[in-house]
């Protein structure tokens, strides 16, 4: 059989295959992996396992509840998680994994950034595709809800940091925190939008709030205080930036900051509610909706009119769409036609991420959007369109109607 793998890699594969067939017993119960959890660490006893049902023995020696999760290779999409691991009460958790690269992590008190993120490789052959459609649907919904909760959980502390600096008048620090604080929100924006008045309070732009007669609060109110417009600057609708607007007083900063934290806390509470759920079409339509956000709001640079951090929102929307797609990918791929569509979507996600990577990353920041030329914007727009077109077919394919 011809191979395109370099020799060393092929040799390594051969060795691990040998290991699998020769040295590892096939009974999963016999080789459970141990996970030592503290408030600040998450150590898995091995960084690899053969494909199939993998069992983790979770032992929390910390001071409060913890959570163990397994993320896909984008470090975002949750493929399995065990919540509410209490100190001193070891618990066993089994998850079915196909070959590939994953990441393990813990979440102290079930919220915030993943702790002890570590690569975890699953080797061998993929299990026979689960023919049980209901099981696939349940898995997609369960994992997407977990993702929404994890992002809402990361959002809160980031917003708290941003608001703390904003309220303290430390604008330089607040400016550095602004884009990153928005990322978890932009990844799950369709969820927030589903809660009616929450998205307007958190994420409305000034022109929209004015048009709808709403009290203007949220990220963009803070943004304009942090990037104070020049005297002759214009809003995106061509009106003067200073029309009915003045930089917030310290009292107003306290109010706007507290309001944003409260709204984000409410979002977290809503998605953490045990009755919170999403439907299959919510997931696939969420992926489509996030790309529409990019195509209409981010490409034009209207979203972050003063900070020009649009590309960070752009990337977060794409992350969110990619995760949502990943959750229903198996379901979409149950027919030949669906498999073709799914591979086209995946290809276009990769192409878009490659174009986006020319301008930075979510972690390191992006080129300010006002420095992105029209020709570059068109290249980004072309890549968005190339993805959005096949993605628009996803719901029909996932639902099979």
């Amino acid at each position: 059989m011809p191979t395109r793998l370099p020799l060393a890699a092929a040799a390594a594969l051969g060795a691990s295959a040998l290991l699998l067939t020769g040295c590892v017993p096939n009974t999963p119960a016999g080789d459970a992996l141990n996970v030592a959890i503290t408030d600040t660490s998450c150590a898995v006893s091995a960084d690899t396992a053969p494909a199939g049902a993998i069992t983790f023995e979770l032992d929390n020696t910390g001071s409060d509840l913890n959570e163990f999760e397994i993320l896909a290779d984008d470090k975002l999409r949750i493929v399995g998680e065990k919540e509410n691991i209490a100190p001193g009460q070891p618990v066993s958790y089994t998850v079915q994994l196909d070959p590939g690269t994953y990441y393990t992590a813990c979440k102290f008190q079930l919220v915030g950034e993943p702790i002890g993120l570590a690569e975890f490789t699953v080797t061998g052959e993929a299990a026979v595709v689960d023919a049980d459609r209901q099981a696939l649907e349940d898995e997609a919904v369960t994992n997407y809800i977990a993702y929404i909760r994890s992002q809402a959980g990361e959002l809160l502390p980031r917003v708290q940091q941003l608001v703390a600096a904003y309220q303290a008048g430390d604008d330089a620090t607040a400016r550095t925190l602004f884009a990153a604080a928005r990322v978890p929100y932009e990844r799950i924006e369709p969820t927030a939008e589903a809660f009616g008045d929450l998205d307007p309070k958190i994420d409305y732009r000034e022109v929209d709030a004015v048009a709808e007669g709403l009290d203007w609060t949220g990220f963009h109110r803070i943004e304009k205080d942090l990037w104070v417009p020049d005297a002759d600057a214009l809003n995106s609708d061509g009106t003067s930036a200073w029309l009915d607007w003045q930089p917030s007083t310290p009292e107003q900063r306290t109010r706007f900051g507290d309001q944003l934290v409260a709204d984000v806390q409410q979002l977290l509470d809503l998605v953490s509610d045990p009755t919170f759920t999403v439907s299959l079409s919510d997931i696939s339509n969420g992926a489509i909706g996030l790309l529409d956000e990019v195509a209409t709001g981010k490409i034009s640079g209207e979203e972050d009119w003063w900070s020009h951090t649009d590309l960070s929102d752009f990337a977060a929307n794409v992350d969110g769409a990619s995760v949502a797609f990943g959750n229903v990918e198996k379901l979409a791929s149950t027919s030949d036609e669906g498999e073709t569509l799914a591979s086209e979507i995946r290809k276009q996600f990769d192409a878009l991420e490659t174009v986006l990577a020319q301008y930075g990353s979510v972690d390191d920041g992006f080129t300010p959007y006002d420095q992105v030329t029209d020709a570059q914007r068109k290249q980004l727009s072309d890549a968005v369109n190339a993805l959005a077109e096949p993605l628009s077919q996803l719901t029909s394919t996932v639902l099979g109607v």
Partner: protein, 431 residues
């Protein structure tokens, strides 16, 4: 489906925009014209009468592409596309095949795709965008072409292994006097000319082809046109351009097959083989400074053009179609047709006998920041060598009309021959 001669191309399960009843009506009363078939050229065009019959339907498949000698329809939507970064030769081939299939359907009045505008899944966007539902074919023709950059980019990159297929005649046009070209309105890897008697049908065609292209190619520039400024058949009256003058009186007409063969179609002697039966298209977006023009005295307007404004007869005498006498003089001995008159400089006698088949349209794209209409002529000409256009355009360097004209967009495309049913417009190029 009906007794009408052309077989609807593409899958037989296609759905009509009009439904079966509509199709039957077309079969009974509609005018069906095999316009693209080389052999049937004269007869087919003679049948097209006014071209305003909105049930007019032209074959897509045939020896030459439709939309060249086809009697000029009233409306235009023209689009230039660039291939996507990193697009492959296979993607180019698949795009041209998909475009061919969609174009064959739309020109017959059918919807794009198997499920069309309203018969697909309620959970998926419709295959066809739907704005032409219920509209007849409206004489729609769709004509495809390949720009020089498809073969080799300006930087000399051969993206699709086509550099050695580039016809030597297909080169970017040289710079002309009076050019004020905007790169964003010029060039392009591919072009699509959609002409129809109903603007909605022409726009529907470009919109759906653009959508099909996403991921493989994207719009570089596009142009809407109204009020054809040329007639390509003796059955059509000569229309007027935005200067208010009849335009294209001396144009090449479909009823002159020998002349069309001599001036328009690429011969086997000219080659290359894959271009035989094709042509070359020059597109120029010519802005007219009409506010200034409208202050010019009638006599001077006529002198600048070389024809009377009302009848359109040459200033050397006679009615519209009277031959132009370039040597005629007035009583005082001055030339009846001025040295810088447009008709003199564009005349075959001063251009080595060259005639172009023109197919231009008027445009008005809103107004500029000075409150002037952004109006003019979207010039389109077909010829079997772009050098013929270059000769005429260089002659026009002294044209007195230039004071009122700005050439702001420019492109040249190789127009391949037509394809038989089942073929793709890219077959000859990519063979």
């Amino acid at each position: 489906m009906t007794a009408s001669p052309p077989t609807p191309p593409g899958p037989d399960d296609g759905i009509s925009r009009r439904g079966l009843l509509g199709l039957a009506a077309v079969g009974g009363a509609g005018l069906v014209v095999g316009g693209a078939a080389g052999g049937a050229l004269a007869a087919s065009v003679a049948g097209a009468a006014s071209g305003s019959g909105s049930t007019t339907r032209y074959d897509f498949y045939g020896g030459h592409q439709a939309g060249i000698t086809t009697p000029a329809q009233d409306r235009l939507h023209f689009a230039a596309f660039d291939l996507a970064d990193g697009a492959t030769r296979d993607e180019l081939a698949s795009l041209l095949a998909d475009w061919t299939d969609a174009a064959a359907r739309m020109t017959q009045g059918l919807e794009v795709g198997e499920t069309g505008a309203v018969d697909g899944s309620p959970y998926a966007p419709p295959e066809d965008t739907g704005e032409a539902l219920g509209l007849p074919p409206s004489g729609l023709t769709i004509t495809f072409g390949f720009g020089p950059t498809l073969f080799e980019t300006a930087e000399g990159v051969d993206r699709f292994g086509l550099a050695d297929r580039r016809p030597p005649a297909l080169e970017p046009l040289p710079r002309f006097t009076g050019d004020a070209l905007d790169p964003a309105r010029s060039g392009g890897d591919l072009c699509v000319q959609a002409c129809a008697d109903d603007p909605q049908v022409a726009v529907h065609a470009i919109r759906n082809l653009s959508r099909i292209a996403f991921g493989r190619a994207s719009l570089r520039w596009s142009q809407l046109g109204f009020g054809r400024t040329s007639s390509t058949s003796t059955s059509q009256v000569t229309p007027r351009n935005l200067f208010g003058f009849k335009d294209g009186t001396a144009n090449l007409k479909a009823e002159e097959p020998a002349e069309v063969a001599e001036h328009v179609w690429v011969s086997s002697e000219q080659g290359p083989d894959w271009m035989v039966g094709g042509s070359y298209l020059v597109a120029r977006r010519i802005r007219m400074i009409i506010e200034s023009w409208d202050r010019v005295q009638l006599a001077e307007q006529e002198d600048l053009v070389g024809r009377t404004k009302g009848e359109g007869g040459p200033l050397s005498g006679g009615t519209e179609f009277a031959p132009i006498d370039l040597d005629a003089t007035d009583a005082d001995g001055t030339p009846a047709i001025a040295a810088d008159a447009h008709v003199r400089l564009a005349h075959p006698d001063v251009n080595g006998g060259i005639r172009l088949l023109r197919r231009g349209y008027n445009f008005v794209d809103g107004n500029d920041e000075l409150g002037r209409l952004d109006a003019g002529l979207f010039f389109l000409s077909f010829q079997n060598d772009p050098a013929r256009f270059v000769t005429v355009q260089r002659s026009l360097a002294r044209d007195g009309l230039n004071e009122y004209l700005r050439h702001v967009g420019s492109a040249v495309f190789a127009i391949p021959a037509g394809v038989p049913e089942g073929g793709s417009i890219g077959d000859a190029l990519l063979a």
